[in-house]
Each structure stands twice: as structure tokens, then as C-alpha cells.
């Protein structure tokens, strides 16, 4: 799983661009799959709808999950993930707009593993990844190219 996929669930295109840039700037070269809302995220995770036929044995190394999304919210996605044996153990890092977000408490109650402030605060992201024991799988897995 050295090429673990990162699933980014984010509906705001600006936050998406900033998060992708933050990952790139920090030499995280894993494949990033972007789902633009909760429905799309679940479709990808469970190989349904537009993603029918996807090999669902392949689950992401980590899910970066925004909470405030149209259609299906992040909390609902989290709940569904924790109910399904295929995604029950996939690490989920919640993206919050503030540390004191009420939703943060609910996220932990539903089985979130960690949180990171938006746009992905890198010190926090590294710390979250470290806590999840995935540090070497994600961070600096390829030495930065030197000119």
C-alpha cells in the first residue's frame, strides 16, 4: 500500500485547490481522488453509480472529509463509512473551519480519527498522519527533487 490513495471529499473548489496545493508543496505524491460531495464520496467508496465496477477492495489510505456539503453531509458520509465493514477502519481526518466547531464533537462520536483545520494546515496534517501511524506511507515518500 505504498501508493495509498487519498480521498479528498470537498465541495468548495477553492478549498480543493488549496488542499491539493498543500499536499503537493509538502511532497505528498499519493494519488488524490476528489469527491465533490457526500453522494459522490460514497459512490466512489462503495463502487456505485458513476463508479460502478471500481475495485472496492482498494480503499483509501486516508479520507480527508469536509463536513459542510450539499446533499449528503460529511457526518452522514462518516456514519455510512463506519457502518460498512469495507470502510469501517479507513482513517478519516475531518476538515474543520474552526477547532471549536460543534460538529467536531459529533465527528469524534461517529468515529473520526482526527481533524485538520482548513485550508489544510500542514503542521496539523502531519501531526494527524503521524498519530494515525501513516507518516512514512504518506509524507516524503519520494525525496523532493533538487535542482
Amino acid at each position: 500500500m505504498s501508493q495509498g490513495i487519498i480521498l479528498l471529499v470537498e465541495d468548495n473548489p477553492d478549498d480543493e485547490a488549496l488542499t491539493l496545493r498543500a499536499l503537493r508543496k509538502n511532497h505528498i505524491l499519493n494519488e488524490v481522488v476528489v469527491a465533490h460531495d457526500g453522494v459522490e464520496a460514497l459512490a466512489w467508496l462503495f463502487g456505485e453509480g458513476a463508479h460502478a465496477g471500481r475495485d472496492v477492495a482498494v480503499q483509501p489510505q486516508v479520507v480527508l472529509l469536509d463536513l459542510n456539503m450539499p446533499r449528503l453531509s460529511g457526518l452522514q458520509v462518516l456514519e455510512r463509512m463506519r457502518q460498512d465493514p469495507r470502510t469501517k477502519l479507513v482513517p478519516v481526518v475531518v476538515l474543520t473551519s474552526s477547532k471549536e466547531d460543534d460538529d467536531l464533537v459529533k465527528s469524534y462520536a461517529l468515529g473520526a480519527n482526527s481533524y485538520v483545520r482548513k485550508p489544510v494546515d500542514f503542521a496539523e496534517f502531519i501531526e494527524a498522519v503521524r498519530r494515525l501511524g501513516m507518516y512514512w506511507l504518506l509524507v516524503n515518500q519520494v525525496a523532493p527533487a533538487r535542482p
Binding site: N12, D14, D15, L18, R21, S97, S98, E100, P119
Partner: protein, 343 residues
């Protein structure tokens, strides 16, 4: 007015009581007092009366009990009753003063309704400001995030003026972020329940002081704390209060080579004193209003919400806050944590 004997029989009923109940004097005297009690409460009342007869005590008017009397025609009448036991020769009797409380109850209901409506409006407003504050953060993140991306990725292609413009844009975005955070904190505080417990304010003072020392390693500030500073207060709110007051004391004493901060007690009040720049007492009333600042932002940074938050946290305890100062003479903030008389 009624006089009732130990057995609960009516001995006397004055004309006003006859008017209130519609019974004639002869229909009342000699009857058990339960005649005037609504049927559903009669059994309980008789038991209650036996208990009262064993240990009679005065009961003042206006206790919150909502009592009812029943009239001759069967209608009920909301009443307030004051009981006063006394000896009449060798008999122990009870004088009952009965007052029609229809009007009081109507007014109280109106007051309660108005209060409930006001509270609902406040909650709605807070929920609204909470969601607005949250929604304001998203575009702000975008502004700050891309300004940062520009500086990092394209900074070399800009001259100093260009980089300065971007730095200003970022500063403003971050300042607005702080404003929103502070507003959220203020809104949260208004909703928080106050959970009092015995605490030592000195511990919170030392913790806040430790954080300030860490954040300002180049400052020299001497702290004096009266220990212990006991209080019965909500520890989370106390932390907010003391963090803000000490933070201000440090901030506004910055021009001093060696500043002095003192925390202690004066009468029923606690105080935080500094020897900083102080403020003009003429404007003291504006201190606790959100967004009101008495100093230029270029001189002392801040959002103007800190003291409003402190005032709210103190109000939640039923206390009050006030300040004493003169320009250049330092400032003293005094506060109480209970609704007692303050100097």
C-alpha cells in the same frame, strides 16, 4: 380574612371574604375550611392542614404557590394566602389572609411570555450570528490561502511593493479571521450554562501569566498575586475573563521597560491592575462595548471584543465589571462574581 380553629373549622369570615367567595357568613362559620378548596385538592389540603396544625408557622404572602379557592357558584378564584398562627385564649387558631390574585397572575403570565419571547429572539439571533460567522470564514480562507500561494509560488517575480501589497491582504484576512473567532467565542459564551464550583483564581492567573511569558519572551513583567483568591465560579468562564484581563494588562503596559501587574481582592471585588498607558475615564463606558477601542490599532492591536467577552462572562455570573484609570496612570479592572452589593 378567615380565622380557622385547630380542627380546620371556620370561626370567622370577614365581609371581604364573603364578597370574594359569594358565601354568606352563616354559610361559612362552623364549616370545614375545605369548603373553599377546589374538590380535587380537598383530601390533600386536609392532610396538609394536619401537618400544619402540628407545627404551625407563618407563611408570607406572595409565595410562588399558585393556589385556588372555590366560590359558592363553583367557579375557582386564583388566590394568594398568608397564614399566621396565634393563640386565642387556650385555643390555637390560624388567621388566613386571602387575596384575589387574578390580576397578579395575569401580569406574571404576561411577563413570563414576554421573557420567553425575548429569550427566543436572543437564541435566534445567536444562532444566526453563529452561522454567519461560519459562512464568513470560507471566502476568507480563499483570500488568505491564495494570497499565501502567490507569495510562496510567485513571490520571486514580484518586487518589494508587490509582496508588501500581498502581505497587507493576508494581514487583513487574518485579522478578520480573528474577529470572527472572537465573535463566535462571544456568541458561545452567551449560550453557555454557568457551572459554579469552588476555585482559586490565582491558579488561573498563573496559567495565563505563563502563556503570556511564553508568547512574549522579550517582555519584563512583574506579577503579584494575592493567594489564594477563592471564588465560587465557572472555571471555563474564569479562564476567559482572566486570559483577557491579563492579556490586556500585558498589552497596554508594553511601553514600560519593567511592567507591573497585580491581581487581588478589594472588598467583594477582584481586581487586575497594571501600570500601563491607561485610558481616559471619560470614555470608560465604551470599554465593554463590542468593537469599541480606545487606542489606535497601530499602537495596540486588538479586535475590540475582548472586554465585551469579559463583561458577558461576568454578567453570566450575576456580577459586574468596572474600571478605574487616567491616561498614563495604568488601569485597574474590578469585577464581582455574584449579585451582591458592590462598592
Amino acid at each position: 380574612m378567615l380565622v380557622v380553629d385547630e380542627g380546620g373549622r371556620i370561626l370567622l369570615a370577614n365581609p371581604e371574604l364573603q364578597r370574594l367567595t359569594g358565601f354568606a357568613e352563616a354559610e361559612l362559620v362552623g364549616q370545614p375550611i375545605e369548603l373553599l378548596v377546589p374538590p380535587e385538592a380537598r383530601t390533600a389540603h386536609a392532610a396538609h392542614r394536619d401537618g400544619y396544625a402540628r407545627s404551625p408557622r407563618a407563611r408570607p404572602m406572595g409565595s410562588t404557590l399558585e393556589l385556588s379557592a372555590v366560590r359558592k357558584d363553583g367557579t375557582t378564584l386564583p388566590v394568594e394566602i398568608m397564614l399566621s398562627p396565634m393563640a386565642l385564649g387556650d385555643r390555637r387558631v390560624t388567621i388566613a389572609f386571602v387575596r384575589d390574585s387574578t390580576e397578579q397572575r395575569r401580569r406574571r403570565r404576561e411577563l413570563e411570555d414576554a421573557h420567553a419571547a425575548a429569550q427566543a429572539a436572543v437564541r435566534e439571533l445567536e444562532a444566526f450570528s453563529y452561522s454567519v460567522a461560519h459562512d464568513l470564514r470560507a471566502p476568507l480562507r480563499t483570500v488568505d490561502g491564495f494570497a499565501q500561494a502567490l507569495i510562496e509560488d510567485y513571490g520571486e517575480r514580484l518586487d518589494d511593493t508587490g509582496r508588501d501589497y500581498l502581505a497587507r491582504a493576508r494581514n487583513a484576512a487574518q485579522r478578520m479571521g480573528h474577529l470572527i473567532d472572537d465573535l463566535l467565542a462571544l456568541a458561545r459564551l452567551s449560550r453557555a450554562q454557568v457551572a459554579r464550583e469552588p476555585i482559586d483564581l490565582a491558579r488561573f492567573v498563573r496559567e495565563a501569566d505563563g502563556r503570556l511569558r511564553q508568547a512574549n519572551p522579550d517582555r519584563r513583567v512583574e506579577l503579584t498575586v494575592d493567594e489564594p483568591l477563592r471564588a465560587d465560579a465557572d472555571p471555563r468562564l474564569i479562564a476567559v475573563i482572566l486570559d483577557n484581563l491579563l492579556g490586556n494588562a500585558w498589552k497596554f503596559s508594553r511601553p514600560r521597560a519593567i511592567a507591573h501587574v497585580e491581581v487581588g481582592r478589594r472588598g467583594a471585588a477582584y481586581f487586575v491592575r497594571d501600570d500601563g498607558v491607561g485610558f481616559d475615564p471619560e470614555y470608560a463606558s465604551a470599554l465593554f462595548t463590542p468593537f469599541k477601542r480606545l487606542h489606535a490599532a497601530r499602537e495596540f492591536e486588538g479586535t475590540g471584543i475582548g472586554l465585551a467577552t469579559v463583561a458577558r462572562a461576568i454578567q453570566r455570573h450575576g456580577g459586574r465589571i468596572w474600571a478605574e484609570s487616567a491616561p498614563g496612570a495604568g488601569a485597574t479592572f474590578l469585577f464581582t462574581l455574584a449579585a451582591e452589593d458592590t462598592p
